[in-house]
Amino acid sequence: MNVKQLWSFIRKEARHILRDKRTLAVLFVMPLAQILIFGYVISTEIKDARIGVLDHARDYSSRQVIDRLVSSGYFMVQDYYSGRGQMESALRKGDIQMAVVFSPDFGSSMERPGGANMQFIADASDANTARMLVNYAEGIVAGYEFESTEVSSRRIAPLIVEARMFYNPSLRGVLMSVPGIMAMILILVSAMMTSISITREKEYGSMEVLLISPLQPWQIILGKVAPYVILSLVNAITILAVGVFVFQVPMSGSYLVLAFVSLLYILLSLSLGIFISTVAPNQMVAMFISLFALMLPTILLSGFIYPIENMPVWLQWFSYIMPPRYYISALKDVMFKGAGLFVVWKEVLIMTGFLGAFLLLSIRNFKVRLE
C-alpha cells in the first residue's frame, strides 16, 4: 500500500547484506572462483598430454607419426626412451600419460601387405583420460596412414566417416560448465541466502515485530528478496562475462532472451527460498535444506556434470523435478545454438510452473503458521 514503507524496508535489507562483509565477499568471489576452477582445472578436454616415445625404428615414417601427434596440439613429447624398462618406469611414475612404441621395421613394413606395427600404452589409472588419449592418437595415425598410402595401392575404397561436433566443435568442457555454474550459483544465492535471511528474522524475533507492524506480509517478503534479485543478476553477469571474455564461450543468442530466462530462474529460486523459510525453524536448518536439497541435486542430477541420459531410469525421473535442469537446457540452447524464446518455450513454461507452485505452497504455509 505505501511505497515509502516498502522502500525503507528494502534499504534496511540492503544494509544487512552490505554490512556483512564476509558473506558479501563469499557471494562475489564464489562465482568467480567456481568458473575459474571449472574452466582451468576440471577440464575434460585433452591438451598437451605428456607422451613418451620408444622408437625402435627411428625412420622417416615413425618421425612423421610423432610430428603428426605433436602438431595436433593434443600431445607433447615428454621424453624419448631407448628401452622398454625405462619407458615403463616413466609411465609408472606418472611422468608420461601414454607411451608410443614403434616396431624396428616400422617404415618398411608400411609398404608390405601385412602392415606395420605400433603400440599405444596408456596409463589407465585414469580410465577416461586414457581412453580419450588412445582414441585421439588412433585418429591421428589413421589419418596419416590414409594420406601416406599411394592411391594406386589402396586395395579397397575407404569408407570415410566425417564426424563434426556442432555448437561445441572442439568439445571444450568449459562450455558445459558455464550454464551449470550459473544455475548452481543463482539457486545458491537466491534460495539459500533468502531462506537464511528470512529465518534469521524468525530466530531473532524481529519477524513478530514486523508482522505486528502495519507492514503487509507480502511487503516483508518482497522487501527481503528484492536486494537478492539484484545480487543474483550481478552474479549472473559476472559468470557470463568471465565465460565469454576469458574462456571465449560462444554467445550466439540474444542477450534479451538470456536475461529473461535468467530472471525467471532467479525468481523461481527466490520462491524456493521463501518456501524453505516457511518450513525451516531456524537458520541452520534453512542452510542444510538449501545445501543438501539444492546444491547436490543441482550438481549431480541436472545434467551439469553427468549426462542425464547415462543415469538409471529412476534417477532420470528424479531429474525431471530439478528446476536447474530446465534452466541449464534453456541456457545452452540460447548461448550455443542462438535459440529464441520460441525454441525454449517449454523450459520457460515449466519454470513458470515451478515458480507458481513454490509461491502457492509458501502462501499456504505462511497462513497456517499465522492461524
Binding site: 514503507q5 525503507s8 544487512h16 508482522l211 505486528i212 507492524s213
Partner: protein
C-alpha cells in the same frame, strides 16, 4: 458509553489449538492511560492472548476490541494504532541507532520530517544524542531495551504492548525503564505489559494473573494483596498459581 473510555475490550475470548484451550473465556477491559500488568506462569496463555490483541492471531470465539477496532474485522486498523516490543528482539544490531528509528518510524507511517524531530527529542531525553550514528551492536542490552521501547512509542500509539520488556537487564536499568513507561502513560499511551518480575507488578495500576488459560485474579496490586491476605505480590502470585 462506558466502553468508550476502554482502549482494550475483551469479552469471552476463547482460543483453541485443536483440543487444547489456550485462552478460556477471558474477560477484561483496559482504560486509557492505564499501566496494565499481565502476569502468569510460562504456558499460562499470556503470549497467545497478546498475539490475539496485536492482530497476529485470530480468536476462536469472543469479542476483542483494541483501540476501538475489532481485531477480527479490522486487524490493519488495530496494527497501526498500537506499538509492540518484546524482550526477544530489540532493534537490528547491524543498523545504527538512527537507522533503526527511521526504519520503524517509516513503517508506522511517519514523515521524514516528523522522524527527524521526534528522534531528536527522544535521543536528548535519553541523553544519547552523540550515539545517533553508532551501530546498535555497540550498545549495552539495557540501552537497547530503552531504545526499543522509545521506538515502539515513537508514532504515539494508543496502546503499547510490552512482552517481558525488562528480562535480562540490571535493576537500575529496570528502574529507568519503568520511568519511561510512566512518561508514556502520562502522555496518554496505554501500557499493556507482561513480566516475570513480581516487584514490577507493584508498579502497575492494575494486574491480571492468568492460570491455565483463565484469568484467576484482576485488581490493583493493593486490592489483590488484601483480597488474598498477602504482604507481597510474590505471595499473591504463588498462592494463585500453586493453591496448595
Amino acid at each position: 458509553m462506558e466502553t468508550s473510555s476502554h482502549v482494550i475490550n475483551v469479552k469471552d475470548l476463547v482460543k483453541k489449538f485443536g483440543d487444547f484451550t489456550a485462552n478460556d473465556h477471558l474477560n477484561f477491559q483496559v482504560k486509557k492511560g492505564e499501566v496494565f500488568g499481565f502476569l502468569g506462569a510460562n504456558g499460562a496463555g499470556k503470549t497467545t492472548a497478546i498475539k490475539i490483541l496485536c492482530g497476529l492471531s485470530l480468536p476462536t470465539s469472543g469479542l476483542v476490541e483494541v483501540a476501538g477496532y475489532n481485531v477480527k474485522t479490522h486487524p490493519e486498523k488495530v496494527k497501526s494504532s498500537i506499538g509492540y516490543m518484546s524482550q526477544k528482539f530489540s532493534l537490528y544490531d547491524d543498523l545504527t541507532v538512527f537507522e533503526n528509528i527511521r526504519l520503524f518510524g517509516t513503517i508506522y507511517g511517519l514523515s521524514s520530517g516528523e522522524i527527524k524531530k521526534r528522534s531528536g527529542e527522544m535521543l536528548s531525553r535519553l541523553g544519547i544524542e552523540e550515539q545517533r550514528n553508532r551501530l546498535l551492536s555497540t550498545l549495552s542490552l539495557g540501552w537497547k531495551q530503552k531504545l526499543a521501547f522509545s521506538v515502539a512509542v515513537l508514532h504515539r500509539p494508543k496502546i503499547v504492548f510490552l512482552d517481558e520488556p525488562t528480562s535480562g537487564v540490571d535493576p537500575i536499568t529496570r528502574r529507568q525503564f519503568w520511568e519511561l513507561i510512566y512518561q508514556a502513560a502520562d502522555e496518554g499511551i496505554t501500557v499493556f505489559v507482561t513480566t516475570h518480575y513480581l516487584d514490577e507488578a507493584e508498579y502497575c495500576n492494575r494486574v491480571t494473573i492468568m492460570v491455565d488459560g483463565r484469568i484467576s485474579a484482576l485488581d490493583t496490586p493493593a486490592g489483590l494483596k488484601t483480597q488474598l491476605d498477602c504482604d507481597t505480590m510474590n505471595d499473591v502470585f504463588l498462592k494463585l498459581t500453586r493453591p496448595n
